[in-house]
Assembly symmetry: C2
Homo-oligomer: 174 residues x 2
């Protein structure tokens, strides 16, 4: 039931059509949550049926702009504050690490080194992104900044871990 709340959250920030929301998923939120067209339009229909959102305007080309309702805002608050975010239980990269005993130590180090390079690139990208954004003092940008900082720390952690892991393999297996 998370897509539902992602949509509610986006509409709580500002009303928009399915097409608008799709763009927001593809850009600002792409590293946090994603949705495809089919999923999104389906969810909008369900949310409207449940009276958590409503059509606030209609535009050209059949465009329907949705806005969150009071019931929707209340549902969003409940999700934010009363439900515990489940601990993440899937990580494809780590799954591979688990099975790295199936290849040679050299190959395993190669895998980790590629991953480390990727994380290093990400660190730079996020730093550049942060520098390029004009951080005003409004709420949305404050919380977006917290999320961006999380990304930076995550990427740095993976970069350092990958380096350490490759060295550990070398020490243990050559």
């Amino acid at each position: 039931m998370t897509l539902r709340h992602a949509v509610l959250g986006l509409l709580a920030t500002a009303p928009g059509s399915g097409y608008d929301l799709l763009k927001r998923f593809e850009t600002a939120m792409s590293s946090v949550w994603t949705a495809t067209q089919s999923q999104l339009y389906g969810e909008l229909g369900k949310l409207e049926s449940a009276d958590l959102i409503e059509v606030s305007a209609e535009g050209p080309r059949g465009r329907k702009e949705y806005a969150i309702t009071d019931a929707g805002r209340s549902e969003l608050r409940t999700w934010l504050l009363e439900e515990r975010p489940p601990a993440a239980r899937r990580n494809e990269m780590l799954l591979r690490v688990y099975f790295l005993g199936e290849v040679t130590p050299e190959e395993a180090r190669g895998f980790l080194s590629r991953h480390g390079d990727f994380a290093k690139g990400l660190v730079d990208e996020l730093a550049a992104l942060e520098a390029s954004v004009d951080w005003d003092d409004s709420d949305p940008s404050l919380y977006g900044r917290l999320a961006l900082e999380w990304g930076k720390r995550y990427a740095a952690m993976e970069r350092d871990w990958a380096k350490w892991a490759a060295e550990t393999i070398r020490a243990a297996r050559g």
Copy 2:
């Protein structure tokens, strides 16, 4: 197609029945990948049809022990070395952070503080786990140790980030 490779990886380490694998998913791998019964037995059937695994023994209670085939090992290697792990694109906790502007700053700090406590608990748990395990020098334990270290670093990163984030909110909004 990741469950497929998770199963192949487990069977590459040691043969086992569906029931065995389920236990391994629930314990050793629970923070890395999960699978339910229905998914697992279904996947075992598909993998057998594709000749990536085979029944290596039958036991009491209809038990079928599966073992990986050469084709399966080759598929596993390809997945490990030639496919790029996709960047994670969903994080429910971060999604909530994104929308924290919908609640008061006090509530937002409460959310982050609870999350920080959770991460702190995890750091301790993982440290205890590490201390309790008898790390011999075999391959599986080397790579399991790398994964465990990742978990420790991840939890520590989240703990520190949550603390920083709560302080940042206090500084900006009180």
